[in-house]
C-alpha cells in the first residue's frame, strides 16, 4: 500500500504546486489521463486474483477520487484567482463623464397653451384653427367694427400692400376671425377654443409684435353671462394651480361683445414680482362678453334664438404670470440658456391625473 500512499502524496503535491490551469491540466493528464500514473495502476487490476483485485481496486479508486477532488478544488481556486486578476485589470475610472447628451425642452408658451387646451377640453371645448393672414371681413367687419371706426385703430394692425382690386390683407389682431369662421361654417350649439398666433404693431417688455391667444366661444340657447363667469372662474382656478384664485368681473367695452367685461385676478405686486393667489392688487387678465347680436347676424345666426359668450386671453402673458418670466420679449429670443431655464420636460404633458406641469 505504501506505493499508493506515496503516489497520492506525490500527485497531491503536484496539484498544490500547479500555478495555473495549464499546469494543473498537465498534472491531471499525468495522473488520470490515458497513460497517467493512476490510470496505469487501474490497468494492473486485470492481472490480479479476484480477492486481491477487490482490495487493491478499492484502494486505487479511493486514490483516484481524492486526486480528482483535489484537482477540482484546485481548478475552482485557480479560476477564481484568474477572474479576480481579470476583474482587477478591467477597472475603469467611473468618475469620467458619460457621453454628452443635450436635454431638450418644451417652450413655456406652448406648455401654457397645452395646459389651457387640457382644461378646456375637459369642459367640452373643441379646438378650432384658422389662418394668420386674414381679410378685413373676418378680422373686423364681421366682428362689428364699423369701417374706419377708431376702434380699428386701437388694434395696431399689420397690413399687407393694397392690391389692384383694392383688397388689403392683414395679420389677424386676435383669433376672433376663427370664431367667425366657425360660426359661419357650423350650426349651434358651438363650444370651441381658438388658439393661435396673433399680431400687433407693438414692441416692449409687455408687448411683442407676435403673441399667442386662446379665445373661447360658446353659442347655444339660454347661455348667459353667469355661464361665462363660471367658465372663466373655473378655468383660472385650475390654471394657476394654487389654493386660492380670487377673480373679479369688471365692465369694459369691445365692439364684438355686449355686455362686455374684463376679468381681474387678485395678486400681490409687492417686491417687484407678481404672485397670484396672494395680496390685494388686481391684475387685468382677460377680456370677454356676450357675443354681440350684430356678430351673430353677420355669421348667419339668429340672435333672438341663440346667444352665447366669447373670451380671449394672452397665452404668453398668462404663462409669464404663472411661471414668473419677467419680459415677454425673452420668449422670442431663442436664447438656449433661457429655453433651458424656463422650458419644460418633454414628459410634462398636462393631464388631469398628474397636474398641468
Amino acid at each position: 500500500m505504501t506505493d499508493l500512499t506515496t503516489l497520492e502524496a506525490d500527485v497531491l503535491a503536484q496539484v498544490a504546486a500547479a500555478g495555473d490551469l495549464a499546469a494543473l491540466d498537465a498534472v491531471r493528464v499525468a495522473a488520470l489521463g490515458k497513460t497517467g500514473s493512476i490510470s496505469g495502476l487501474l490497468k494492473t487490476l486485470g492481472s490480479m486474483s479476484p480477492e486481491e483485485r477487490k482490495e487493491r481496486g478499492a484502494a486505487i479508486n479511493v486514490l483516484r477520487d481524492r486526486v480528482q477532488t483535489a484537482l477540482n478544488d484546485k481548478k475552482a481556486a485557480l479560476e477564481a484567482a484568474a477572474l479576480d486578476a481579470r476583474l482587477a485589470s478591467e477597472t475603469l475610472d467611473l468618475t469620467l463623464p458619460a457621453p454628452h447628451r443635450r436635454r431638450g425642452s418644451v417652450h413655456p408658451t406652448m406648455q401654457t397653451m397645452d395646459e389651457m387646451i387640457a382644461i378646456f377640453a375637459e369642459m367640452g371645448f373643441a379646438v378650432a384653427e384658422g389662418p394668420d393672414i386674414e381679410d378685413d371681413f373676418h378680422n373686423f367687419t364681421a366682428l362689428n367694427f364699423p369701417p374706419k371706426h377708431p376702434a380699428r385703430e386701437m388694434h395696431d394692425t399689420f397690413f399687407f400692400n393694397t392690391k389692384e382690386d383694392g383688397e388689403r390683407m392683414l395679420l389677424r389682431t386676435h383669433t376672433s376671425p376663427v370664431q367667425v369662421r366657425t360660426m359661419v361654417s357650423q350650426k349651434p350649439p358651438i363650444r370651441i377654443i381658438a388658439p393661435g398666433r396673433t399680431y400687433r404693431v407693438d414692441n416692449d417688455a409687455t408687448h411683442t409684435p407676435v403673441f399667442h391667444q386662446v379665445e373661447g366661444l360658446v353659442i347655444d340657447k339660454g347661455i348667459h353671462m353667469g355661464h361665462l363667469k363660471w367658465t372663466l372662474e373655473t378655468f383660472l382656478a385650475r390654471f394657476f394651480e394654487t389654493d386660492v384664485v380670487t377673480t373679479q368681473f369688471r365692465p369694459h367695452h369691445f365692439p364684438f361683445t355686449e355686455p362686455s367685461a374684463e376679468m381681474d385676478v387678485q395678486c400681490d405686486r409687492s417686491g417687484g414680482e407678481i404672485k397670484i393667489g396672494q395680496g390685494t392688487s388686481w391684475l387685468e387678465i382677460l377680456g370677454c362678453g356676450m357675443v354681440h347680436p350684430n356678430v351673430l347676424r353677420a355669421c348667419g345666426i339668429d340672435p333672438d334664438e341663440y346667444q352665447g359668450f366669447a373670451f380671449g386671453m394672452g397665452v404668453d402673458r398668462l404663462g409669464m404670470l404663472k411661471y414668473g418670466m419677467p419680459d415677454l420679449r425673452d420668449m422670442w429670443a431663442s436664447d438656449s440658456r433661457w429655453l433651458s431655464h424656463y422650458g419644460f420636460s418633454a414628459f410634462a404633458a398636462p393631464n388631469a391625473a398628474s397636474g398641468l406641469s
Partner: protein, 824 residues
C-alpha cells in the same frame, strides 16, 4: 382724461372720497389708470409760522429761524430772503422726502448751526407758484394744517375712456354714471339760455357734408385777459395751460361737458360769413411737423400750434373771406390768424358737430391730437350744439362781460337715436342677473334714457308677450346704445357685475378620441418627441426679412408687410429654418454655439388660407464639449436619425419613404441633403446640411444641420372604428444572418443596393443593414465596397443549406442588377 374730486362734486352731491370714487368708476366700466394724490405725496409737510429770524453767525445769506411747527418750536436754518418773523409757510421735518429736490432730509449742521427741518418753497413741493423764496401762506392757516390742504391741491384721477363712451370725456358724464351707481345725487345739469340783445352780424354757411350743423353767436365788448384763479387752478390741476379767459372757457366746457367749442377774434375775420366746407387741396398730405413738399397744396392752414398743415378734400375747413381763407380745421384745430388774444373785444363762438370718421381721419393725416379732435372723433353729443353755446355765453359774460347777439344756426344736427323696444326680462335672459324690472328701468332713467309705453306693440316682434315691453330711447349723448343687448349692459354694469351669478356650463358629451384634430395631435406629439430627443423648442416671429425669405424660396409681393415693425421683419417666412439659424448665430455670438433647436409653426406660401402650412423644423449646430471617449462627431446623419424617429412617432409611412438625394431645395448643401418623399409630388420633408452660402448670408458660422417637415404633407393613417390591433404572431423559427460585400461605383447610392437586396425575396428577408463602407487598397479606384448584413426570417420551416444558397444567389443577382458586384 383727468379730473379732480372737487370738479366732480360740482355735479355730484356726495361725501365720497377719491378712493370711493375710483372704486365706483372701476365697477361702472371706467378704467382708472392713475390717481395722483398730493395729500399722500405731501403728507409730511405742514403749515408752520416763523416766530424769530436772526442772521446766521457764520453766513451772510442764511438766517436762523425759530419756527412754531406741528412738532413744537424748532430751530431751522433757512436761506430764503423772505424768511421773516410772522410768515406762515410750510415746514418739512427731518426724514421727510422732498419731491422737488429728490432728497430725504437728514439732520446736519449748516455752517455750524443744526437745522431741525426745512422751510419749503413751492417748487420744492412740486407746487410751483412762480415766486422765489419759501411759500407765503395766509396767516389764517393754523400750524399743522396739511400742506396739500393749505395749497388747495387735490387728488387728480386719470382714467382710460373706451371709444364707445365719449360722454365720459366730460366730468358731468362721469357724475351721471356715478349717481346712477349710487355714489351720490346728480346736480341739475340743465343750461339756461342767454337771450341775445342784437342780431348776429356774422352769417354761417355749411355744405351739410363737411359739417352737418354749426351754431354761433357774437359777444361784443368783452374784456379778455387772464382767467380768474379758480378757473386757472382747475385747468392746471388736470395739466392744461391757462391761456386767456375766452380760450379757458372753451377748454373748461370741453372737459366739463365733452363739448368742444372754438372762439374767433371778430376783428381778425375777413368778411361777415363763416363757412364750413370740404378742403380744396390735393389728396396727399404732409404732417404738420414735417416740411411741406416743394409742390404746394392748393390750401394750407397755419394752425394755433404754429405749424402749417396741408388741407385735403377729405378735411373740413372753416373759412372766412367768402369761403376763400381757411381759418381752421373744423373740429380739429383753429387757425393762428383769427385766434383770441388779450386784445380781443368782439368774439365769435363756434359750437358745431363734425362727423367722427372725418375727424378721426383728419387727426391721423395731420398728426393733430387736440382735445377737440379726440372728442369729435369719438362722437360729440349731437344735442349739445346750442346748449354748449349757451353755457359758453353764460361763462364769458360772467368773466369778460360784453353783450351777446342772437344765436345763428346753420344746418341740422343728426337725428337723435331712435327708440328700442325692450322687455326688462331680457336682462335676466342675457346676463343671468336676477333683477326686478322696475330696478332695471330706474337705472336706465338715471342714465338719461327715456322710458315710454310702446306706441304700436302689434307691429313688433314682442306682440305676444307685450305686457312688460317698453320703449327705451337713448339720450343724444349715448349714440353707442343701439339695441337691447346694449341696454342689458347698462343695467348690469350699474347693478354691478359682482351680482352676476356663477352658473356651471351644461355638460356636453365629450368627443370620441379627444378634441384635437389629427394635425393638432401630431404637432403635439412632435413637440414632445423632439424635446425628448434633446432639441429645445424655440418660438420665433412669423416674419423675416424679404431678402432672407427670398433665400428660402419666399418673398412674394403679397407676403410683404406694408407697415413692418422693422425692415428686417418685413416679410412672412416661407420656412422656419432662417429664424432658427439666426437664433443659432445669436447664441454663438453670446458664447453658446452648441444649439439644437426646433420650432413648430406657420409658414406662408401665399396670402390665402390654404397657402399657410404648419412646419416642423429642427436645426443642429453641433459644438458638443470635447469628449475623452473619442465618440464620432455629430453630423447630417444625427439629424437624419432624429427626423426618421420623429416621422415614425407621428405615424408617417417611414418604410415606404424614398430618400431622394440631390433634389432638396437650393438652401441646402447640394451634396449633403435629400428629400424624404413618397413620390416626387409627395415630399414630406427635407434634411441635410445648410448651404454654406446661405449661412454666410445669414452671418452664421457652419456647419448647421437641419430638417423641415411640412405637416400637411405627412399622410394621416386611416381612422379605424375600433382601437383593437391585429393579433401578435411571432415566428417560432430563429432568424439567421448572411453577410455580403459588394463593389459599386463610388457615386452609387448605398440605399439602392440595400433596396435591391431587400427586394430579392420580400417574404424571407426581414432587414438589410449596411455595416461597412470602404474605399482604398483592394477596391478599384472610383469604386467603393459596401458590406451588407441580410437578416433572413424563415417563415414556416427551417431553411436547408441549399435553400439558403439559393436565396444568397438571388440577393447577389438582385444587387448586381442594381450596380453592385459581389466582392471576390
Amino acid at each position: 382724461m383727468k379730473f379732480t374730486l372737487s370738479w366732480l362734486k360740482d355735479h355730484l352731491d356726495t361725501e365720497a372720497s377719491a378712493t370711493d370714487v375710483v372704486a365706483a368708476m372701476t365697477m361702472a366700466g371706467l378704467e382708472v389708470e392713475h390717481v395722483t394724490d398730493p395729500a399722500s405725496k405731501l403728507a409730511a409737510f405742514t403749515v408752520a409760522k416763523i416766530v424769530e429770524a436772526v442772521q446766521h453767525p457764520n453766513a451772510d445769506r442764511l438766517r436762523v429761524c425759530q419756527v412754531d411747527t406741528v412738532d413744537g418750536r424748532k430751530e431751522i436754518v433757512c436761506g430764503a430772503p423772505n424768511a421773516r418773523p410772522g410768515l406762515t409757510t410750510v415746514y418739512a421735518p427731518i426724514g421727510a422726502y422732498v419731491p422737488g429736490l429728490g432728497v430725504t432730509l437728514v439732520e446736519k449742521p449748516v455752517r455750524g448751526v443744526v437745522s431741525n427741518g426745512m422751510l419749503c418753497s413751492g417748487s420744492e413741493l412740486e407746487a410751483d407758484d412762480g415766486s422765489e423764496g419759501i411759500l407765503e401762506l395766509s396767516n389764517d392757516l393754523a400750524v399743522g394744517t396739511p400742506a396739500a390742504t393749505a395749497l388747495g391741491l387735490e387728488a387728480v384721477i386719470d382714467f382710460e375712456v373706451t371709444p364707445n363712451r365719449p360722454d365720459w370725456l366730460g366730468v358731468a358724464g362721469i357724475a351721471r354714471d356715478l349717481a346712477a351707481a349710487g355714489v351720490g345725487k346728480l346736480n341739475d345739469l340743465s343750461i339756461a339760455p342767454v337771450p341775445g340783445t342784437f342780431p348776429c352780424p356774422i352769417s354761417i354757411k355749411v355744405d351739410g357734408e363737411a359739417c352737418p350743423v354749426f351754431a354761433g353767436r357774437l359777444i361784443k365788448g368783452v374784456k379778455n385777459g387772464p382767467s380768474p384763479k379758480w378757473l386757472q387752478d382747475r385747468l392746471k390741476a388736470i395739466g392744461l395751460r391757462p391761456i386767456n379767459a375766452l380760450v379757458d372757457v372753451t377748454n373748461l366746457i370741453s372737459y366739463d361737458r365733452a363739448r368742444p367749442l372754438h372762439v374767433y377774434d371778430v376783428a381778425k375775420l375777413v368778411g361777415t360769413t363763416i363757412e364750413a366746407r370740404l378742403g380744396r387741396g390735393k389728396a396727399e398730405v404732409t404732417p404738420g411737423d414735417q416740411p411741406s413738399p416743394a409742390e404746394h397744396h392748393d390750401e394750407q392752414l397755419i394752425a394755433l400750434d404754429g405749424k402749417t398743415y396741408d388741407i385735403t378734400p377729405e378735411m373740413c375747413v372753416i373759412a372766412d373771406a367768402d369761403g376763400n381763407r381757411p381759418i381752421g380745421l373744423g373740429g380739429v384745430m383753429g387757425g393762428e390768424s383769427t385766434g383770441c388774444s388779450d386784445d380781443t373785444i368782439d368774439v365769435f363762438i363756434e359750437s358745431a358737430w363734425f362727423e367722427p370718421i372725418r375727424i378721426a381721419q383728419t387727426g391721423r393725416a395731420t398728426g393733430i391730437a387736440s382735445d377737440a379732435q379726440y372728442r369729435f372723433a369719438r362722437t360729440v353729443d349731437t344735442g349739445s350744439v346750442v346748449p354748449g353755446l349757451e353755457l359758453a355765453t353764460k361763462l364769458i359774460l360772467e368773466l369778460c362781460g360784453g353783450q351777446p347777439s342772437d344765436i345763428v344756426v346753420a344746418g341740422e344736427a343728426p337725428a337723435p337715436p331712435g327708440p328700442i323696444l325692450f322687455d326688462p326680462a331680457y336682462v335676466g335672459q342675457l346676463s343671468g342677473l336676477e333683477i326686478a324690472p322696475e330696478r332695471s328701468l330706474k337705472i336706465l332713467t338715471d342714465l338719461g334714457f327715456t322710458i315710454e309705453p310702446p306706441k304700436d306693440v302689434s307691429a313688433t316682434a314682442f306682440a305676444v308677450s307685450a305686457e312688460s315691453v317698453v320703449c327705451v330711447t337713448p339720450p343724444t349723448f349715448r349714440r353707442d346704445v343701439e339695441g337691447k343687448a346694449d341696454l342689458v349692459e347698462e343695467v348690469a354694469r350699474i347693478a354691478g357685475y359682482g351680482e352676476l351669478p356663477s352658473t356651471a356650463l351644461p355638460e356636453v358629451p365629450r368627443a370620441v378620441g379627444g378634441v384635437l384634430t389629427a394635425k393638432q395631435a401630431r404637432a403635439r406629439t412632435a413637440r414632445r418627441a423632439l424635446a425628448a430627443a434633446g432639441y429645445a423648442e424655440a418660438l420665433t416671429y412669423s416674419f423675416t426679412s424679404r431678402k432672407t425669405a427670398e433665400l428660402f424660396g419666399g418673398g412674394q409681393d403679397e407676403l410683404v408687410l406694408a407697415n413692418p415693425i422693422a425692415s428686417e421683419l418685413d416679410c412672412m417666412r416661407p420656412s422656419l429654418l432662417p429664424n432658427l439659424i439666426d437664433a443659432a448665430g445669436r447664441n454663438a455670438r453670446q458664447g453658446f454655439p452648441d444649439v439644437a433647436l426646433f420650432e413648430i409653426g406657420p409658414v406662408f406660401f401665399g396670402d390665402r388660407p390654404q397657402d399657410q402650412k404648419t412646419a416642423i423644423a429642427a436645426i443642429l449646430a453641433p459644438h458638443a464639449p470635447r469628449g475623452w471617449d473619442k465618440a464620432k462627431a455629430e453630423d447630417v446623419f444625427t439629424v437624419k436619425g432624429a427626423l426618421l424617429a420623429l416621422l415614425e412617432e407621428i405615424g408617417a409611412p417611414v418604410a415606404s419613404l424614398q430618400t431622394a438625394q440631390g433634389s432638396a431645395s437650393p438652401w441646402w448643401h447640394p451634396g449633403r441633403s435629400a428629400r424624404l418623399q413618397l413620390g416626387p409630388k409627395a415630399v414630406l420633408a427635407e434634411f441635410g446640411e445648410i448651404h454654406p452660402a446661405v449661412l454666410k448670408a445669414l452671418d452664421v458660422a457652419g456647419p448647421v444641420y437641419g430638417f423641415e417637415i411640412t405637416l400637411e404633407a405627412v399622410p394621416e393613417p386611416k381612422k379605424k372604428a375600433i382601437k383593437s390591433r391585429p393579433a401578435f404572431s411571432p415566428s417560432p423559427l430563429m432568424p439567421l444572418t448572411r453577410d455580403f460585400a459588394f463593389v459599386a461605383d463610388k457615386a452609387k447610392a448605398a440605399g439602392d443596393l440595400v433596396k435591391a437586396a431587400a427586394g430579392a425575396d420580400k417574404a424571407l428577408i426581414d432587414a438589410v443593414r449596411v455595416f461597412d463602407v470602404y474605399e482604398g487598397p483592394g477596391v478599384p479606384d472610383g469604386s467603393k465596397s459596401v458590406a451588407l448584413e441580410v437578416v433572413v426570417q424563415p417563415r414556416d420551416k427551417t431553411l436547408t443549406e441549399a435553400e439558403i444558397e439559393a436565396l444568397s444567389a438571388k440577393i447577389v443577382a438582385a444587387v448586381e442588377k442594381a450596380g453592385g458586384k459581389l466582392r471576390g
